[in-house]
């Protein structure tokens, strides 16, 4: 039906779309999703050939390359066979025509219908999209934004196009009308081929069968929409989902680190990515199939598993503190490990860190078996301990404590190390004054001490931070601050977090997934919202009930 090959669109020097390949089957609805400025609208306008910049590549509509069509022929295709509902209703509607006339116009212009037929058709469409009859004779500025949007949809549908391009079709509707219009489009008009450009995952989810995620003018991921929403493979897709509020989100909303910048060499997302490696800034990744119907453009094959354990066990004598634990933590995600005191959570963390020798099983870092923990391991995995007062040596000042990991790893000169430490102290929102740097732990409050230990763990720029009950010794208000800090750090640095807690209520606020541990075993694991809403194990239910006030 529609096939786009290596489409490139640029305005002057600025490349907006870069090497887009798309295929649309008849009757299919494809959602183009991305933040503002990723080129969604430009893509729609390119298909309509309404874009002002330079277009290169091919856009084949039923086999014909639209880009090489003469203007007169394109004129016939546009609006009658391919129609587009624009995003910004106010600018598109002609202020001197009434609503009804606006819709009649394309039909008459394309000589598809007589004036009478066109009027009837227009009325029918407006009614269909739920515009009240008394608004038909109104001028665009006399109706509300939501009503304008309905008019635009009616207008786009007026010539019964084969391909309908909807640019943010529901964005100016309230939630109730949104659902109504979405079901109109989805249910009663389901055989039409549609392209929905939106930043709104809810709209995409309601309308589309497949989804393409655009970032920086490139497709970073594509696949069936349900599949993608429940299990995103590209870090950007996950970040978008994380940033989007819905009723099943239990975690606090999180932005994506940094801002979109253009142009970027290599992968367009690498400056904001949670798992970028050297190659990401040098080469553009290709969109490659990863599993059934799913494609990801990522040098690392999509979101990687940062750390995993296989059958990891640790016994103390006859006590199995950790019993055959299989756990995996993806780059950039938060996994909460929840369980009561003595369930083996800390032992598991310490075994992962190499502070305990495992009695069985293996730890894998980025898919590779961890044998001897050296600079590689400790540079990637760091831990914040339960009791900040204990885990800071009383003999080391704040500066000495925070530079200690760098000193052990023999990184840089003394001055480099101190500068790094001071910078990280700023990140954890601690003062950077000389006075503070020279303080000893017993001069600090519990919250400050925990921030120092967090800074100390971050100074090696780890990819994974294991936080073992980081707030156990702190009061609720300080706890809230520390949890917020951890979330912010995750956003800024793209950290993965293994958050260990006995408090499932706190876990639910910070984690993407929850694993419940009892007697050394993981008894239940899943997305936080599912664990909280529909726990499968009695023990999890008990934990949940215990936190209800």
């Amino acid at each position: 039906m529609l096939e786009i090959k290596n489409l490139q669109v640029s305005y002057g020097q600025e490349v907006i779309l870069n090497g887009i390949d798309l295929k649309l089957e008849p009757g299919e609805t494809l959602a183009i999703v991305g933040e503002s400025g990723t080129g969604k609208t430009t893509l729609g306008l390119s298909i309509m050939r309404l874009v002002e910049g330079t277009i290169r590549g091919e856009i084949r509509f039923n086999g014909k390359n639209l880009l090489s069509l003469p203007d007169s022929e394109m004129q016939r295709v546009r609006w009658s066979r391919i129609a587009m509902a624009f995003q910004n209703a106010n600018n598109v509607l002609n202020p001197v025509y009434t609503v009804l006339n606006q819709i009649m116009e394309p039909m008459i212009e394309h000589r598809l219908k007589s004036r009478e037929e066109a009027r009837d058709k227009a009325r029918e469409l407006l009614r269909y999209f739920g515009l009240q009859e008394n608004r038909f004779a109104a001028y665009p500025h006399q109706i509300s934004g939501g009503e304008q949007q309905r008019v635009l949809l009616a207008m786009a549908m007026s010539n019964n196009p084969e391909l309908l391009i909807l640019d943010e079709p529901l964005s100016s509707l309230d939630a109730a009308s949104r659902a109504e219009v979405a079901s109109l489009l989805k249910e009663t008009d389901k055989h039409r081929t549609r392209l929905v450009a939106t930043h709104d995952l809810d709209t995409a989810g309601k309308l589309a069968d497949r989804m393409v995620v655009l970032y920086g003018g490139k497709i970073v991921e594509s696949g069936p929409i349900r599949d993608m929403l429940s299990k995103p493979r590209h870090p950007y897709t996950r970040a978008l989902i994380r940033a989007y509020p819905n009723m099943t989100t239990v975690k606090d909303l999180q932005g994506i680190k940094g801002m979109m910048t253009r142009p970027v060499s290599g992968c367009p997302f690498h400056p904001r990515c949670t798992q970028a490696i050297d190659i990401c800034s040098q080469e553009v990744p290709e969109l490659l199939p990863v599993s059934h119907g799913r494609e990801v453009a990522c040098h690392r094959g999509g979101i990687i598993t940062l750390l995993s354990t296989g059958n990891l066990s640790k016994s103390f004598g006859s006590i199995k503190a950790v019993d055959s634990v299989d756990l995996h933590i993806e780059a950039g995600e938060t996994l909460a490990l929840v369980g009561q005191t003595g369930s083996g959570k800390t032992t598991l963390a310490k075994t992962i860190m190499g502070l305990h020798q495992p009695t069985g099983g293996t730890v894998y870092l980025e898919g590779e078996k961890v044998e001897n923990r050296g600079k590689d391991f400790f540079g990637k995995v760091q831990m914040v301990f339960q009791n900040p007062g204990e885990s800071l040596s009383h003999r080391l000042s704040v500066l000495e404590a925070v530079t200690e990991p760098l000193e052990i790893q023999e990184t840089g000169t003394k001055e480099d190390r101190e500068n790094k430490a001071i910078q990280v102290l700023g990140e954890v929102e601690l003062p950077q004054t000389r006075d503070f740097l020279n303080k000893y732990p017993h001069h600090l409050s519990g919250g400050e001490m925990q921030r120092v230990t967090i800074a100390r763990a971050l100074v090696l720029d780890p990819a994974l931070l294991i936080a073992d009950e980081p707030t156990a010794f702190l009061d609720a208000s300080v706890q809230a601050k520390i949890l917020k800090l951890l979330l912010n750090l995750q956003e800024q640095r793209g950290l993965s977090l293994l958050y260990i807690t006995h408090d499932i209520a706190a876990a639910r606020k910070v984690s993407d997934r929850i694993a419940v541990m009892l007697d050394g075993r993981i008894i239940e694991e899943g997305p936080s919202n599912e664990i909280v809403a529909t726990p499968k194990q009695d023990y999890t239910r008990r934990l949940l009930n215990a936190t209800r006030i």
């Binding site: 310490k350 860190m353 190499g354 502070l355 923990r373 050296g374 600079k375 391991f377 400790f378 760091q382 831990m383 301990f385 339960q386 009791n387 007062g389 204990e390 885990s391 800071l392 040596s393 009383h394 003999r395 080391l396 200690e404 990991p405 052990i408 790893q409 000893y440 017993h442 230990t453 100390r456 090696l460």
Partner: protein, 281 residues
């Protein structure tokens, strides 16, 4: 919490007294050439003279100036004392801390050696060995050090075992620190007060042993020593030379040991759990 050992000692009455005595003794040893006009080894025909203006404590049986011998005796006594204190504490720390950190077979072997030495009465062994080799100062320091580090090692190991479970040690390990770094940066600094006490008791023991061996006449007879002075003086006990020969040497020795005991005693409270969760094993 920082504990200031120096402050603890200064603020305790006996501690202060002990410190003053020790400083006097050290001053005497250091300033020996200034304080004594005569060479303590210089023999003369003027034997067994009572005190006079020229010879404050008189002369001994071979015509040596007793005051000079007393002053130089402090050198021997303190040199042996501090030498043994340093070496035995060092050995104790190295073996104790390494046993705690390395563990396994190494720890078992070291600790069994320690046990073996502790059950053997040290004084008998020292007397036996000395009787054969007649040790000079350096040999004596070595001998006493080798025989006296074991108690300290035991305490140090116990303490290091407790310290190595501390959060900050675990944290250092999680940054990739090796055992040497942990011992040096995290364990030994926290052993400070124990090291001090171990050191002081080591010094005291060595001062006493040195005097004892010299008194028995089985140390190097060419070295001036309080023990030897007392031994020589005793053989002339029928004369009243003991007043200026035996008594000053005895008093000097006793004062030194009392000074060390006082200081050690004053330093001990810092090891108490109420201050640190540290206990002496």
């Amino acid at each position: 919490m920082h504990i200031d050992v120096k402050k603890e000692i200064r603020e305790s009455g006996p501690g202060k007294t002990g410190l003053i005595i020790l400083l006097l003794m050290i001053g005497m040893a250091v300033l020996a050439p200034v304080l004594s006009p005569y060479n303590p080894y210089q023999q003369s025909t003027a034997s067994l003279l009572p005190p006079s203006l020229n010879h404050w404590l008189g002369m001994n049986h071979v015509g040596q100036d007793i005051w000079s011998q007393l002053v130089y005796g402090a050198r021997t006594s303190l040199l042996v004392g501090f030498g043994v204190g340093i070496f035995s504490t060092l050995l104790g720390t190295v073996f104790g801390v390494s046993a705690a950190l390395v563990g396994g077979l190494y720890e078992k072997i070291v600790m069994r050696i320690v046990d073996a030495f502790i059950v053997i009465p040290m004084i008998i062994v020292v007397i036996l060995i000395s009787a054969y080799i007649r040790p000079g100062i350096a040999t004596l320091i070595l001998l006493l050090s080798l025989l006296s580090w074991q108690g300290g090692a035991r305490v140090m190991r116990a303490q290091a075992l407790s310290l190595k479970e501390r959060g900050h040690v675990a944290a250092a390990r999680s940054f990739g620190a090796n055992r040497f770094y942990i011992a040096w940066r995290h364990i030994v600094p926290d052993l400070g007060p124990i090291l001090l006490v171990d050191f002081i008791y080591g010094v005291r023991r060595a001062v006493f042993m040195e005097a004892g061996l010299a008194f028995l006449g089985i140390s190097d007879p060419t070295v001036v020593s309080w023990g030897m002075m007392m031994r020589d003086a005793l053989s002339f006990s029928y004369l009243n030379v003991w007043q200026w020969w035996l008594v000053p040497a005895g008093v000097a020795l006793s004062l030194t040991i009392i000074g060390l005991t006082f200081v050690g005693h004053a330093a001990e409270p810092v090891l108490e759990p109420r201050l640190r969760g540290v206990e002496i094993a």
